[in-house]
């Protein structure tokens, strides 16, 4: 059972466009929602993250929108560039019982291509 559902699987936009990647979850125990960017041959790198008590977070050209009641969150990339072409993963963290440490569940990933 996929704990975090991500769509679309792939996305193609023109340079300057605003790709939007969506994720949904069911488990209300998730307390932290990061987005990762992965280039071929590299490990995932943290892009931006949000906690469920915040509805939006912006860092540079990247924005997370979070809808707690709908259990959905999305990544928007403003003024997208060819260098943004990568695979993007959403994730959600759950704390281990009786611990302040947790584990991540990942979405299936979105392959983004930005054409020049």
């Amino acid at each position: 059972q996929q704990q975090v559902k991500q769509s679309p699987q792939s996305l193609i936009v023109q340079k300057g466009g605003i790709p939007i990647i969506n994720c949904a979850y069911e488990n209300t125990a998730f307390d932290y929602f990061p987005w990762y960017q992965q280039f071929p041959g590299k490990g995932p790198a943290l892009l931006i993250a949000i906690r469920p008590d915040v509805s939006e977070k912006k860092e540079g050209r990247f924005t997370i929108s979070f809808n707690k009641s709908a259990k959905q969150f999305s990544l928007h990339i403003m003024d997208s560039q060819p260098g943004d072409s990568a695979t993007y993963f959403c994730a959600a963290r759950i704390l281990r019982r009786g611990s302040t440490l947790g584990r991540l569940y990942f979405g299936r990933g979105t392959q983004l291509t930005v054409w020049p």
């Binding site: 307390d31 932290y32 990061p34 990762y36 041959g41 590299k42 490990g43 995932p44 790198a45 943290l46 993250a49 906690r51 993963f89 963290r93 440490l101 947790g102 584990r103 991540l104 990942f106 979405g107 299936r108 990933g109």
Partner: protein
């Protein structure tokens, strides 16, 4: 963020053999994670390794196949045992640095091909 060095970066192995992957972190961390990422797929957690205790394995992964060591707070190894072509994948080490700006950091991965 923590800097993770993972070795080897890639390897081609014969079926039936074993490969040990090393993960070295430049700071002390409580939890280290091992993931598998098959080509074009998402990340699947294999196990969580705490220093001084047995690793905790996720459903579908067993210690006999993926033994893990965690001798100190900066180092861990994952062994892929008795390999078959189905084990061909990218194996990633990760550490938890909280939920602030640093979050969870990943190594660059080990690309394993079993022939």
């Amino acid at each position: 963020s923590a800097v993770i060095s993972q070795k080897p970066s890639r390897d081609i192995c014969q079926r039936g053999t074993s490969l040990t992957i090393q993960c070295q972190v430049d700071s002390q961390v409580t939890m280290m994670f091992w993931y598998r990422q098959q080509p074009g797929q998402s990340l699947t957690l294999i196990a969580t390794a705490n220093q001084g205790s047995e690793a905790t394995y996720e459903s579908g992964f067993v210690i006999d196949k993926f033994p893990i060591s965690r001798p100190n707070l900066t180092f861990s190894t994952l062994t892929v045992s008795n390999m078959s072509p189905e084990d061909s994948s990218i194996y990633l080490c990760s550490v938890e640095e909280g939920t602030g700006a640093r979050g969870y950091t990943f190594g660059s991965g080990t690309r394993l091909t079993v022939v």
